[in-house]
């Protein structure tokens, strides 16, 4: 019944104009709507399938193979994973990436929270400051990295000039000469570029806290600090969890800033996990081994995402 009606309706679009009634034409409209839904969703699904799902599955398949850029690939089972367990460079890259994440995450969280509290006001001045603080977020990592590469250039850049004036070294001090000082410059750049984002997210969290709650606490005699610790911070927990996960995930995937500012040096001291994948797959052209490293990274990030969901769910319940 439905089929014949929809077949009869299909060739003539004006039939759609029939007002939806509970019976007869209504059913065919529903069916048409479903088909239409499938048709509208399919192009996007096709793109995501070809360029996302297929490579996703292929990552795992490639990781089980010795896969050179040219020539035949050969099934090797878990050999690539076993190799990764003893690969000194890869283990160092993981340690460095985790260290970088541990260093930058608290800085970003505190700086973001500080800025959010600073501009959590009504009025034009606060809005202007919000806009300004957010500016570095919109320029790309590559542009920001090259900008800061100049700022910290020994003998040339204003930042190293400032360091000299503050007695933090002389004109020849090369901030990129050791892995630690290089890491500090990169961290400064990333804090400069990313804090605005953390601020904006935390600000939206602050704004969603009902003003009456804070006022009630103040009326009950709680000081500013007490109100912040006992009212604001607990209510901000979901946003804090979100910002934390953003920062951790972003840091675990760091590449651009180290590729540009330290080139992984000196002595491969600032190679991150993604950087090592890049070198394995696209410098050494060991695509199979690169895929194995990628699969490991993927599992780590999926764990972070899962942790996010748990964190957010727990805060929802409490």
């Amino acid at each position: 019944m439905t089929k014949t009606t929809s077949a009869a309706v299909t060739p003539s679009p004006p039939a759609l104009a029939a007002p939806p009634r509970p019976r007869g034409p209504g059913l065919s409209l529903r069916r048409r709507r479903q088909l239409m839904g499938v048709a509208m969703v399919s192009p996007a699904l096709a793109v995501v399938t070809v360029f996302f799902l297929v490579p996703l599955v292929m990552t795992f398949w490639m990781s089980l193979n010795d896969w050179p850029l040219l020539g035949e690939h050969r099934y090797v089972g878990l050999a690539n994973y076993r190799r990764a367990m003893h690969d000194v460079e890869w283990l160092h890259a993981i340690r460095f990436t985790l260290g970088y994440t541990a260093l930058i995450t608290p800085i970003l969280l505190l700086a973001g929270l500080g800025l959010a509290l600073l501009v959590h006001r009504r009025g034009r001045a606060a809005r202007t400051f919000q806009t300004i603080f957010f500016l570095p977020v919109v320029i790309g990592f590559a542009a920001a990295a090259f900008l800061w590469l100049y700022l910290a250039q020994p003998g040339l850049g204003p930042l190293s000039d400032l360091a000299v004036r503050l007695g933090l070294g002389n004109q020849d001090t090369n901030w990129f000469a050791t892995a630690t000082s290089g890491l500090l410059v990169v961290t400064a750049m990333v804090v400069w570029k990313v804090t605005g984002m953390q601020m904006l997210l935390l600000l939206s969290g602050l704004q969603s806290i009902p003003g009456e709650l804070v006022e009630a606490a103040r009326v009950d005699g709680a000081g500013r600090w007490k109100t912040f610790i006992h009212i604001t911070l607990p209510l901000l927990r979901p946003t804090l969890a979100l910002v934390l996960v953003f920062s951790v995930a972003g840091s675990l995937l760091a590449f651009d800033q180290f590729y540009i500012m330290t080139a992984g040096g000196p002595a491969n001291g600032t190679i991150t996990a993604v950087y090592q994948i890049y070198r394995t797959s696209f410098i050494n052209f060991e695509l199979g081994y690169g895929a194995a490293l990628s699969a490991m990274l993927m599992v780590a990030l999926a764990a972070v995402s899962a942790a996010q969901m748990l964190l957010l769910r727990n805060t929802d319940n409490s």
Binding site: V47, V48, A142, W192, L287
Partner: protein, 284 residues
């Protein structure tokens, strides 16, 4: 008594302003340096210690950009524009269609498919770049701007679909029903009646995609190997490795300015949509 309350009231205010202005200096100074360094004469650009502002403004660095590298920077600006605009257009069209489908035209399995699309957020594209490179290679799309455009579209689509679905889902069903009763077909109901209301979501989607594609570095570095086809961020590495190891920081910063300033201008013009989209996306 009065003076003390006055002080208690104005002191935090003054402290707040001072703090804000200090942060402003930290945030804006690097951006100022980018512009000022790019406007210095070559001789001044290498002075030690660096000058605070350009003594004598010159556009030499920007003119020099035109014939640095194989094809000059303006070609790379064109590449970046093509890729970013192409991916933005594709993303907006595909995300609008899919967002409408997921929000309004539910079918068996549409919930699962939408969840699947959202699940792609959990997987970083850096982790699937290796097979992606092989797939593009086998499709004859490696080392090509259309290939890069398709890859960017793929990675911006989930967020776009999410934003557009929410925009459409937020509209009351009665609007659409009214349009249908008035004699519009489904497609006309969508384009004439619902789309105009969803315009803010659409602008957010477009802005995010454009910014992401204009600034993307990692995939562009890997998937495009021919210097003439480089997008702007990768071109900066060419500027940096130029001229027998002696780097011209004036030209370098001019390149950085050309990359960064369009984003800043676009953000200042459309920040309302940008911020709204960002917050909508974060609190998913």
């Amino acid at each position: 008594m009065r003076t003390i309350t006055d002080i208690r009231r104005t002191l935090p205010r003054a402290a707040r302003w001072t703090a804000c202005l200090c942060v402003c200096v930290i945030v804006l100074y690097p951006l100022y340096t980018m512009v000022s360094q790019s406007l210095k004469k070559p001789s001044e650009a290498t002075e030690n210690p660096p000058t605070l502002y350009p003594h004598g403004i010159s556009t030499d660095n920007y003119r020099a950009l035109g014939h640095t590298g194989q094809v000059g920077v303006w070609q790379h600006v064109g590449n970046s524009l093509m890729v970013a605009a192409g991916a933005t257009l594709l993303t907006v069209v595909l995300a609008t269609l899919a967002g409408y489908g997921f929000a309004r035209l539910r079918f068996r399995g549409s919930g699962v498919l939408f969840f699947l699309i959202l699940a792609t957020f959990m997987i970083p594209f850096q982790a699937i770049i290796t097979p992606l490179f092989s797939i593009l290679h086998s499709m004859g799309l490696s080392n090509s701007l259309p290939g890069l455009t398709l890859v960017y579209t793929t990675f911006q689509l989930p967020f776009g679909i999410f934003l557009m679905r929410n925009s459409f889902a937020a509209l009351p069903a009665s609007i659409e029903e009214a349009a249908l009763i008035d004699g519009c077909g489904l497609i006309r109901a969508m384009t004439r009646v619902l789309l105009p209301v969803a315009i803010p979501g659409l602008i957010s989607t477009a802005l995010f995609t454009f910014f992401a594609c204009w600034n993307e570095f990692f995939a562009a570095l890997i998937l495009v190997t021919d210097e003439a086809k480089f997008t702007l961020p990768v071109t900066l590495t060419v500027l940096a490795s130029n001229q027998l190891g002696t780097l011209n920081w004036g030209i370098m910063q001019a390149g950085v300015a050309v990359t960064a300033i369009p984003c800043i201008v676009l953000y200042l013009l459309l920040q309302r949509y940008y911020v709204a989209g960002l917050i909508a996306g974060a609190i998913k």
